[in-house]
């Protein structure tokens, strides 16, 4: 009881810096999530031959959906982490606005390159495909797409520079913010809270990821403009997947700060940093960068030890996630007498979805399994699990919390229906993908064979449920924001 009242007291003194910028970002994120889901629905329906979509358009939608979703997951994660870091350190508002402006400039360039320029080389822009479209798009369109990435990347680097700078100012060093005093058992009067540990780790690995991504972007851009300039395709692929893997993972590692900061309001037990927590985050920092080789398990000319590391780290990354994050969530929830409203339900779901989605990923991370699962629908199956039921659930949970008001009440009828429908839709949707993967259906095929249509059609049905409930969550957020501001 006293813990609860203390927390409530604490809540009233925590400032809510830059809430306006963060709310605007969440509106944008919600709207783009919804739009990209509609693109996803169109692709799924096209694969099921319920509607007719020309392959060129299909691959444009695929490119927009991939880049748009990854970008929006990162954007919403960044907004969440900025918001909660603001409870512990002072961040410059101007940097966030610059970040948002560069992000939007990138979105304009990317959408233009796809829907005006016809670029459809997928969000992974695998070298040298952007320069060899077989007549589907011009070099200029590919260049615009990459400049869009560069703009977003520069925005993120500014964001992390500011975070790193302010963490350094408040905690003395990034090493201390990573919890090394806790790990070494040294006394620390001002130990970094979980949000800061997360922010320090993400700042380090995502900055490295973006810089290596920038390197391969520049090389690809030069290749587009100067045809004689060759890049080693395998090296480029390593850089691209390093960047892509780190970047999409960073989005969840940023968004999880919502769980650390919001769940305590419900359970009455603050989420504290301790030795295990710090060790887990330091392991994540290394794992997230070493695990990208699991994308290259069928590139048999890679040095074998890298593939072995890819397989091992795919599995061992599951330990901090399941034994630390998920297990701690059980402990926080158990006996907490917490109220299940939309916010708390979505946040607990997000940890579950993230952990459950890691299972098919680590199994596919085995080289022998990967031989028959790589680039089948198994892969969208596992990453949609931890994105739809993980990152996106965190973002929707955060949005519901922003408009919750002071009193916490059990979920109302409509919220409950939406929550259950979202869960059922997403779970069904990803399960179909996993079945499709096991049925050897390749991913990224615009046109499907007769034998596969049943999968696609059932998947389409589940997609409709997700799109409907997403529209509900986003509209609910916008309407309540309007009401509370007006």
């Amino acid at each position: 009881m006293s813990a609860v009242s203390e927390l409530v007291a604490e809540k009233s003194i925590v400032t809510e810096p830059q809430a306006g910028a963060v709310k605007l970002t969440m509106i944008l994120s919600g709207a783009v999530f919804a739009l990209m889901m509609v693109f996803g629905l169109i692709m799924r329906a096209a694969q099921g031959q319920l509607i007719e979509v020309d392959p060129a358009l299909f691959y444009q939608l695929l490119t927009a959906h991939g880049a748009g979703m990854v970008g929006t997951a990162a954007l919403s994660g960044a907004a969440i982490m900025w918001y909660f870091c603001g409870r512990h350190i002072v961040l410059t508002a101007g940097i966030f606005w610059a970040f948002l402006a560069l992000f939007l400039l990138g979105v304009v360039l990317i959408l233009g390159s796809i829907f005006i320029g016809g670029y459809g080389g997928a969000w992974t822009f695998l070298f040298p495909l952007p320069a060899m479209s077989g007549g589907a798009w011009e070099a200029g369109a590919a260049a615009a797409f990459m400049l869009g990435y560069v703009s977003i990347g520069v925005g993120f680097l500014l964001y992390y520079l500011e975070l790193g700078r302010q963490i350094h100012a408040r905690y003395g060093s990034l090493v201390r913010a990573l919890g090394w005093n806790l790990i070494l058992g040294r006394e620390d009067k001002n130990p970094p809270p979980p949000t800061i540990v997360a922010a320090a780790a993400v700042t380090i690995f995502n900055s490295i990821g973006i810089i290596l991504g920038a390197a391969v972007l520049v090389a690809s851009l030069v290749h587009l403009l100067v045809p004689g300039f060759e890049v080693n395709a395998l090296l480029a692929k390593n850089l691209i997947y390093f960047f892509g893997h780190v970047f999409i993972n960073a989005s969840i590692y940023m968004a999880v700060t919502a769980v650390y900061e919001i769940l305590p309001e419900y359970t009455g037990k603050p989420w504290k940093s301790n030795r295990l927590f710090a060790i887990a985050w330091n392991a994540v920092l290394i794992f997230v960068m070493a695990v990208y080789w699991h994308h290259l398990l069928q590139d048999v000319v890679m040095p074998p030890w890298m593939l072995v590391v890819g397989q091992l780290v795919s599995y061992f990354s599951g330990i901090p996630l399941i034994a630390v994050t998920a297990f701690s969530t059980f402990l926080y929830v158990r006996g907490s007498k917490m109220t299940w409203d939309l916010t708390s339900s979505l946040l607990v779901l997000s940890v579950a979805g993230w952990a459950v989605g890691s299972i098919p990923a680590s199994i596919d991370g085995m080289i022998s399994v990967n031989k028959v699962m790589h680039n089948t629908m198994w892969v969208p199956g596992h990453f949609h699990t931890y994105l739809l039921l993980g990152e996106v659930a965190m973002a929707f949970g955060f949005m519901a919390w922003l408009v919750r008001g002071k009193t916490i009440a059990q979920m109302s009828g409509l919220d409950r229906v939406a929550f259950v429908t979202y869960l059922a839709g997403a779970a069904g949707f990803v399960t179909v993908f996993l079945f499709s993967g096991a049925a050897s259906i390749p991913r990224r095929w615009a046109v499907h064979y007769e034998e596969w249509l049943m999968h696609d059609r059932i998947g389409t049905l589940f997609s409709v449920l997700i799109v409907m409930t997403t529209l509900f969550f986003v509209l609910r957020f916008v309407l309540r924001l309007g009401r509370s501001n007006g």
């Binding site: 392959p55 060129a56 459809g120 080389g121 997928a122 695998l126 040298p128 495909l129 060899m132 479209s133 077989g134 395709a233 395998l234 290259l296 069928q298 590139d299 048999v300 000319v301 074998p304 593939l307 072995v308 091992l312 599995y315 330990i319 399941i322 034994a323 998920a326 297990f327 969530t329 059980f330 402990l331 929830v333 158990r334 006996g335 907490s336 007498k337 917490m338 607990v348 940890v351 579950a352 459950v356 299972i359 199994i363 022998s368 399994v369 031989k371 028959v372 699962m373 790589h374 680039n375 399960t431 996993l434 993967g437 096991a438 049925a439 390749p442 990224r444 095929w445 064979y449 034998e451």
Partner: protein
């Protein structure tokens, strides 16, 4: 192999989901007891041991090992947007085949399928490199080659086939 992988994955996913569901049910129950953290330590050890056992078991023999016996046959496959060229039309059943693949343009993915569309094995085909994968066909019949790496607007049309024939000893 795929049905087993699917089954194991679904069971583990369902089990973890069940634990989460039970934890939310238990929010009204008693608080976690003092030995919760020793349970966690047990979990970490269990996951570590399972991981080591599975790793050792699944990496030996090396999954990418090529057939090196005397009766192994090499089949060369060249590829490009959007075609496969296979230098052997009739491949003998029962003998290890080393497929050796190259590309003239972008990255492709050599996926070898049965006629009823079950993926048997695959390897990435990377510009500037020759990549190899081994497979022994037990059953004569028609097999298909599908592209497994997105390679542009006609990626889904990049297919071909070959015959596996029974040989008399």
């Amino acid at each position: 192999m795929q049905p087993i992988v699917l089954l194991i994955s679904l069971i583990l996913m369902a089990a973890l989901s069940l634990v989460f569901w039970l934890a939310t049910r238990a929010s009204n129950g008693p608080e976690p007891g003092p030995n919760a953290n020793s349970k966690r330590a047990g979990l970490i050890w269990a996951m570590t041991i399972v991981g080591v056992v599975v790793a050792v078991g699944s990496l030996r023999p090396w999954p990418h090992a090529l057939a090196s016996t005397d009766d192994a046959i090499t089949v060369s496959i060249t590829s490009g947007q959007w075609w496969w060229d296979i230098d052997t039309v009739e491949i003998p059943a029962g003998r290890p085949i080393n497929f050796s693949a190259t590309t003239e343009d972008v990255t492709h993915g050599l996926g070898i399928y049965t006629s009823d569309l079950r993926l048997l094995t695959q390897v990435q085909v990377i510009p500037g490199y020759t990549t190899e994968v081994s497979y022994t066909f037990e059953e004569p019949g028609t097999y298909q080659v599908l592209c497994m790496e997105f390679c542009g607007v006609a990626h889904q049309d990049m297919v071909n086939e070959f015959e596996v024939v029974a040989v008399e000893e």
